[in-house]
Amino acid sequence: MYRIVVAHYVFSALCLVALATLLLFSTGDLFGNYFSPHLLAITHLAALGWGTSVIFGACYQLIPVVFETKLFSTKLPWIGFVMLAAGVILLASSFWRFDVGTYMQLAGALIVTAIVLFNATVMLTARQNKKAAAIYQEFISTACIWLFATALLGLLLVLNFRYIFLPKDHLHFLKLHAHMGIAGWFLLLIIGVSSKLIPMFLASRKQNEKLLNWSYYLINAALLAFLVDGYINGINYKTFAIAAAAVAGLVFYAIYIVQCFRSRLKKKIELPITNTLISYGLLAAAVLILPLIIYFHLQNDGRAVLYSNVYGFLIFIGWISSLILGQAFKTLPFIVWTRKYEDLAGRVKTPLPAELYSHSLLKVQTAAYTLFCACFFIGMLLQNSWLTLAGLICLLITSLTYIGNIFVLLSHKSARLK
């Protein structure tokens, strides 16, 4: 199990370095339409290679804990990993060259199969637990269904490039595809996992699960409404109300998290948790931009495209990335620690999981990432290419320090402390 988890973390870190590098070569695309080969390649590298891959890895470790049973299989995750990695590399390279032929179709098929295998592992593991499912489990299971739906629509879009069969235009479906992925997969999964892990990391006294129930139903209802109404009518004035329902769901989750922080027994906020707080700020910024996108879209104002790009970057390179950049150093050290010290702990003095990675590198990473956010997003809004370029250089530094620290952690040798 250790190797499969580590494989996902390493592949994900490599994808971050790759996407940070590719972004440096795509500065010309940043202010144009998001339906550009380079931006599509980078978005899929971010969503699947960087985000989904690390989530899969962490899930293989955490799902047995959340579902209180052993993982159904260890073979399926390995087959899924190979398919996901191959699929992501093929898909990103096909988008970059905009070769919509066999390779892109093969990539789509590989990714959908990898997701089916992941979902099968999660569902079959969940089925082994006969107890009533807690809300965290509902979030995770529903997120898996949305991920499959997102990938399936993605595959249909890829096939539609060659054999035009979809009844409406590509951009129309792209909005639905993107939001199934963002709200259905990432948001639900992150809420499900974080609402269990964050109070555990902070030793929070208060965990009001009723808030999470509201959050679950509001976000799912909003997403379903967006898909149905969005498919039939496209973006319209009702979209404001749908977005408001999703935001209300987020507010319930935010209240839950604030209560966890306020009732925490562990006073000191560690650097990985600081990254998590930054991620919530970036998510809030993305949510604030949503009404502007809808408004400018309805006015046929070109700013809708610019704000859509900022929104996409805030979601993928902002919220999701910041969360991973922090939480990787809350999850992976425990996985490595268990592997290296499970037999030694209790017999001799051993280091703590938080002592297995470089805190100096994490400080540099957090500083570089904060600078990236400041330069890049302000640069995007002001359409200043120098500021965005400075931001992207900071993102590359962030990615290099992150992967460096991952290797520091993985190459840790067991040591008995005196």
Binding site: Q61, L62, V65, V66, E68, Y136, K196, M200, F201, A203, R205, L265, K266, K267, K268, F334, W337, T338, Y341, E342, D343, L344, A345, G346, R347, K349, L352, P353, A354
Partner: protein
């Protein structure tokens, strides 16, 4: 944790075990399991050469449960060679923050 019975001839062994278990640290909270209130009962018998620990975890979903239980087992096997060691996990009564000692709260920064 329950009070020790001063009339029990094994009470000093039980107290010694409790002190030894203070070396087992919760890897996330950085506080030992005794001050966290995770250990509910320590039974020890010098005659039978047997130690039984009944303990809980701060959360049912704690990813480190197995590692903490192993650490307790390792600690007892290392310090009490020749004894049979039994470490049992219970969820009754559920752990709550009120079980953290003054010292534990201090270590958490409270």
């Amino acid at each position: 944790m329950k009070d020790f019975d001063i009339n029990n001839p094994d009470v000093f062994l039980q107290i010694e075990i409790q002190e030894n278990l203070r070396t087992v640290i919760d890897p996330e909270l950085h506080v030992n399991i005794i001050d966290l209130g995770l250990v509910y009962e320590i039974e020890a018998s010098q005659d039978n050469k047997h130690i039984a620990v009944l303990m809980t975890m701060s959360s049912r979903y704690c990813p480190m449960s197995e590692a903490i239980l192993n650490s307790v087992r390792n600690c007892l096997e290392e310090n009490y060679r020749g004894y049979s060691v039994e470490v049992n996990l219970t969820w009754e009564p559920p752990w709550s923050y009120e079980l953290i000692s003054e010292e534990g709260l201090k270590q958490l920064g409270r």
